[in-house]
């Protein structure tokens, strides 16, 4: 890699994303340092999840520039101003992983195969090595004994932990969490958060987390960004954002979610 360690790993410059007439991200500027743990908070529809989905190449955007480790998301000569070839997008995706709100495990595969499949098929690892790594990752999320179960036999919290192991198996440099605990019963939230907390101490892993768990955000993130109407309204260290928010919108939002 030619980038210096100071260069941001993620950089949005003037990105605009529209769904029809609705502007979800409006001239959006945002950069993330390598290894930084950033939490995105804000009311629903404010564009937080869209930021993650664009980074995962699940959504295109209409204007601006986005780079990952210096690589632009759009190739200049791919037949249109905001297009990229499949191989280019796959190259970008190889650095990014995502954990979804609804887990999205593959229901027809055992837990072990869920974790092994992509390293095997996409990275081309030998089966023995891929399985060895998968078992280690499953042990890390506390589910080594469930490796032969199917997703439907697991609780939501267990499924989400498998999904985290599955994403990590691809060794992403950037890991995106899109409301990872929002679909869980309250008593299952803790086990997922503790896995994420463990990852937060990984120095090299860049993490972007969209969540409504404010206490958790305060605890694990280096920076908290408050989103409002497609822009970052206020950002800073979690202590400051939560104890002394400057913007009235931030104060209103925090008052409403913290009660």
């Amino acid at each position: 890699m030619t980038e210096t360690s100071q260069a941001p790993i993620i950089e949005f410059a003037g990105v605009t994303k529209r769904f029809g007439a609705l502007t979800v991200l409006d001239d959006f500027n945002f950069s993330v340092a390598r290894g930084e743990k950033v939490t995105l908070i804000g009311p629903s529809g404010s564009g937080k999840s869209t930021v993650l989905r664009i980074l995962m190449t699940l959504e295109p955007f209409q204007e601006g520039r986005l780079t990952l480790a210096g690589m632009p998301y759009h190739e200049p000569n791919a037949g249109g101003p905001f297009k990229a070839s499949d191989s280019h997008l796959r190259q970008i995706r190889s650095h990014v992983g995502m954990v979804f709100q609804s887990f999205n495990l593959f229901p027809h595969m055992t837990v072990l195969r869920n974790v092994v499949e992509a390293p095997l098929r996409v990275l081309g690892l030998p089966r023995g090595e891929a399985e060895c790594r998968a078992v280690d990752l499953l042990a890390m999320v506390g589910l080594a004994d469930k490796k032969d179960h199917y997703p439907a036999q697991l609780s939501g919290g267990q499924q989400q932990r498998v999904a985290i192991a599955r994403a990590l198996a691809m060794r992403p440099r950037v890991l995106l969490f899109d409301e990872p605990t929002s679909a869980l019963d309250p008593q299952l939230v803790g086990e997922v958060l503790s896995v994420i907390r463990g990852l937060a101490s990984e120095h090299d892993l860049t993490m972007l987390l969209v969540t409504h768990e404010m206490r958790f955000a305060r605890e694990v993130s280096d920076r908290v960004c408050f989103f409002d109407k497609g822009r970052i309204c206020e950002q800073g260290e979690p202590e400051r954002i939560f104890s002394a928010p400057e913007q009235p919108r931030t104060r209103e939002f925090l008052a409403s979610v913290l009660g």
Partner: protein, 221 residues
Amino acid sequence: MEWLSYLPALSRGALITAGITLSAIAIGAVAAFAAGIARVEGGRALSLVALCYTELFRGTSLLVQLFWFYYALPLVGISFEPVATGILVLSLHVGAYGSEIVRGALQSVSVQQHEAARALNFGRAQTLIHITLPQALVEMMPAFGNLAIETLKLSSLVSLISIADLTFRAQSIRNLTLDSAGVYSLTLVGYFAMSLVLMLIMRLIERWVRRGAAFPRAAHS
């Protein structure tokens, strides 16, 4: 016990019916998957070709298709054996219906599964083969079971292009003996017995595709 004497001839016909049906199911399945996958995953040209095939063969009568392939095609110099014609036309006919089953099932796989596959950097073909198709297969099986039995019943039409299947034999014996009740009752029993076997085979395939624990909720419905 006059009807006992019909059995050898009817059995020989039933064998032909079974052979044609099983061949048509096998070849039809290939056509169904090819056209169904082309509709969902193919580019514009490929999916248009698949659409034309599906609509042409669904939208016209099987009997006329058989006549066309058997009597009209030889006029331009293309002709096959009757049995080959029967299998080919029946395959293409049920393949057209089957392609709609494949398309519907592939499209019913949730967008979240596609997104998860993309987040893990699976390519398009890998996503189809390892992620969406195995899940869609489970959805397809009940409809494929129906179609398999439908194929068996439709196969009786090949008797009209001079193939000596079960229906053809029944007609011949009836013309000889005028024992309509006996001959046709036996024939019905013959079709029903074959469809029971077919149903059993499809159930076994379905159970194998479901792999027990993977789809516990679907198994109850």
